[in-house]
Symmetry: C2
């Protein structure tokens, strides 16, 4: 029981996914939940800086605050845990976090924040449709969290993990994937309020994926667990050469 | 006047920075503002999906909506402009967006969203302290926007541009930089509400940078405009090899 594990999510402290994750990783060390009070899906890497945040201890090793997943990680690491954790796990998100869409994800952003602090961080998502059953995914989370503690991660890199919602026997294994590309199409619905004013509702539409054989999306489609190493450095290093060559000042 | 340029920000449609940017790029084509009604700083790549969004036309070529910068880009491109724009510009943010912190930035996230749609996208920030004077930065924005229209950008890549708040004659030139690394330290203040309950306020503290000579932060410190190409693909490709080699399943 020498490891400390910070457990967070973006769906709120009462979400079934975080309970399943907490139950899974508490066998690996002292697992402390610090999670938002309410659903903070799609808040991405938002940080609350315009107001103070209040932390409530709900029960032993379960804390909540009125902020975002990133707030939870920052306060969890710096103020709530007695020391920096050995591992951060985020999720389990009900629904996939794949390709370009991870940029919107609170689940993944929490792991980005952990990585900025130098803590090995894993984001878990259950790739399927409601009703969600987290049992198999929780078993996978336990396994991968123990691997991360044992073998470590590449520097400045988190893992974005998507687990297909399949019976354990139907999961074909683990693939180390790269981020796929999502082609956006008609993801906005038009609607009208009772006074006849037009509103737009983002979401829906069809989704198309590209990127080839070894993407996250492809792995899931074929029944594999997708593990994508995601790096903090967003620089396109070859892009710098392109600009130096092509931009005539 | 054949180019369409989408202009957005995270500080709100009335911010002086977006007015300066709009005035600068309207010489390059039809420049249309679609920006949040209110300050949406540090919302990162948040997308509003749990409620419909209403768009208001404030005056010719100036639209606002009750959402995030990412909402503005999505709706601007798909519903407000008559066609996809040739260029997206975001900003001018009052204050720098450097290193790891760009992950929190609404200014940069708007440019990420544009890049996902395949539109050349530039994020502009004025690196300085209040009182902000956007005049010099607006001139730089005009120059770099015209370069982007003329010479293009690397594929799936946006530019994160920080301009030092200096008199034009004191700016030493442009550097194509990489993203620096920020070391986090004590960026949380403790405070108490009138009832004596402890609260945490994120922000403040000291900042330390690492990453060496060619980073964004270093360029600004030496009086250069920093132009960092930022890619959509977050995969750590070498990290996949590390995992395949070191993780014994």
């Amino acid at each position: 029981m020498s490891s400390y594990i910070l457990v967070t999510n973006d769906d709120g402290v009462d979400a079934p996914g975080i309970k399943a994750l907490h139950d899974a990783v508490r066998h690996l060390g002292r697992a402390v939940i610090v999670a938002p009070e309410r659903d903070k899906s799609a808040v991405s890497h938002a940080l609350t800086m315009n107001r103070p945040l209040h932390v409530r201890e709900l029960r032993e090793d379960v804390y909540t605050l009125d902020g975002t997943p990133t707030d939870c990680v920052t306060l969890g690491m710096n103020k709530i845990l007695p020391r920096m954790p050995d591992l951060l796990v985020s999720g389990i998100n009900p629904g996939p976090n794949l390709g370009d869409d991870i940029s919107y994800s609170g689940t993944v952003s929490a792991a980005i924040e952990g990585t900025m602090y130098g803590i090995p961080s894993l984001a878990f998502s259950l790739a399927g449709e409601p009703p969600f059953d987290f049992e198999t995914a929780a078993g996978v989370a336990w396994k991968l969290a123990s691997m991360a503690l044992q073998f470590g991660l590449p520097a400045n890199t988190l893992l974005n993990i998507n687990i297909p919602q399949l019976p354990p026997g139907d999961i074909r294994g683990i693939r180390f994937t790269r981020q796929g590309r999502r082609i956006y199409k008609n993801a906005i619905q038009e609607t009208y309020d009772p006074r006849g004013r037009k509103h737009y509702w983002i979401g829906g539409g069809t989704v198309q994926w590209t990127g080839g054989e070894d993407t996250d999306e492809q792995a899931l489609r074929e029944g594999y667990i997708s593990v994508t190493p995601i790096q903090l450095d967003l620089t396109n290093h070859e892009g710098r050469d392109y600009l130096r060559e092509h931009w005539k000042m």
